[in-house]
Amino acid sequence: MMKSLPITIDSVRKAYGSYVALDDVSLDIQAGEFLTLLGPSGSGKTTLLMALAGFVRPDRGKLLLGDRDITRLAPNKRDIGIVFQNYALFPHMNVLANVEYPLALRKTPKAEARRRALDALARVKLDGLAERDIAALSGGQRQRVALARAIVFEPRVMLMDEPLSALDKNLRETMQYEIRRLHDDLGITTIYVTHDQREALIMSDRVAVMNSGRIQQIDTPQQIYDRPSTRFVAEFMGEANIVAPGAARRIDGADASRETLMIRAESFHLDAKIVGRDGVALEGTLRAKAFRGENWLLTLALDAGQEILVCIPAALASGCAELATGQRVTAYAPAAKVHAIPGAVA
């Protein structure tokens, strides 16, 4: 187990001309935590990661690694392992030389460097490929070499910049679990950047959703998904319906909420009895229906004109096949899945 460190990001700002990439970002990351920076491109997540790595100098604010101020420290003195999006392996060295490189820089004795490099390669399941050329590796193998090279010198923090974006879907899912397992084995503080919300939910202890250079919300994956604090977060995280105040009625007839509501498409049922009397009902005309294998996706036009998406698991959707467009349909959602977004306007 390596000794990992907490990270403190304190009011960091970075502007390129009039474009503000980071707008007073503050964030505390605990030692050993797996935190994901999630956001669309241009949201500032990579800029923040590069500031931690030392390749972007903040205009203002402080970066602390443990209690050490690293804001102005050279990248080579930070002891941070980085996995780049395109892996950035050294093509003129073989796999072993790539992994031994950080140890050679630290003047680790040859025999020990070899042992540690082979150990790191074994950790990422690349035993036996040590003598291969980089050009002879597949995308997934390159990814593993990049991981081995980033952990071999036992950094106290690991940064990953969309490391899986170049891999195909199946391999990406395998690597998500493997990276998380590697994190759990090593206990190393990890900051992971992605624009893929599923990846963020699957891998992280906490997710920080970024947009326009600001952190919109930082919370556990479940909270981020079920209790988004802004409309942006709600819509970025999945099929979210933002329902205007007054459009939904309570099943038991009590006064409905006066706030803007967020209801995920998959929270709906077509049977009021499953939902409970404190749930809400939304009635509209069926505009479209699509069978997506594991579920049906219905588009309802509410009477106020707004359209909502209703996702019914295929296992529970007896009757969906018979629904005809133009038909009146009522969708019910349990109270626990109805989330009021403070201050949001639908």
Binding site: A74, G81, A88, Y101, F153
Partner: protein
């Protein structure tokens, strides 16, 4: 180009003949010198009536010519060793900086290869005179380095543009300082371009005469300067012998570099 007209034999024949003519036009003036250098006559005559190696003997036996050869080879080597690292660093900055500033710097760096050599030589003469460096080997070296940097940059800039800068960032994050990142990651991968740049810088210095005429003094005279002076004083086939040797040296150097590029 040829594949575009696979059936048109006439077009192919015409194209090949035209290319052959162009090559002949480019090569003949150089090749004419070769038989001249083996002439037995005191005069430059073509075709020579008799053949001998006397002008080669004359060249290798002359202390002046040998001093010129030594100066030129030393100067060429020093020029390449100074100009190529400087050009590499400049190109890295230009590559990283980007935008208008980089364009301006690139323009400034390339100026010496655009400005007429005579202007550069006159300017350099006054600058060196102020520093009391006229007539020194160092003075000529400064001039040649200034001329060789743009040549090396032209070779190195496109190579750097293709280079994946993330590798340098990766090396830095793994603990490499700037010097080690450049030496261990960039240089080995740009080996071939650096070799070409070195050859080009070396040849630039070897071939240069105007700055040498203005700045070099008697004992520091380069071979091209001595050749110009001897052409002015008396024309004899020694010049042809030197030119032939020169061509062979350059040809060998270029062949070595291109063979290394292939392997």
């Amino acid at each position: 180009m040829l594949e575009a007209y696979p059936d048109n034999r006439l077009a192919r024949v015409l194209l090949w003949s035209f290319c052959a003519l162009v090559l002949a036009f480019l090569m003949l003036p150089t090749l004419v010198v070769v038989p001249l250098s083996f002439s037995a006559s005191d005069l430059l005559e073509f075709p020579p009536r008799a053949y001998s190696l006397r002008w080669y003997e004359n060249f290798f036996g002359s202390a002046t010519w040998m001093a010129g050869l030594r100066t030129s080879l030393i100067l060429g080597t020093l020029t390449a060793t100074l100009a190529v690292p400087l050009a590499l660093l400049a190109c890295i900055s230009i590559n990283r900086l980007g935008g208008r500033t980089a364009l301006a710097i690139q323009g400034a760096l390339l100026t010496p290869s655009i400005v007429p050599g005579i202007l550069l030589a006159i300017g350099l003469f006054f600058v060196l005179a102020a520093q009391r460096l006229v007539g020194t080997l160092f003075g000529v070296l400064v001039g040649h380095v200034v001329l060789a940097i743009p040549v090396a940059c032209i070779v190195l800039l496109p190579a750097l543009a293709r280079f994946d800068w993330n590798q340098v960032q990766a090396a830095r994050s793994l603990g490499a300082n700037w010097a080690r990142a450049i030496g261990g990651i960039i240089v080995p991968q740009l080996q071939i371009s650096l070799l070409s740049a070195t050859l080009m810088a070396f040849l630039t210095s070897l071939d240069e005469s105007v700055i040498s005429i203005f700045v070099a003094s008697g004992q520091n005279s380069t071979l091209p300067k001595l050749m110009f002076l001897s052409l002015r004083d008396q024309i004899d086939p020694t010049i042809a012998a030197i030119s032939t040797l020169w061509t062979v040296i350059v040809l060998v150097a270029v062949l070595i570099v291109s063979f290394r590029q292939k392997s």
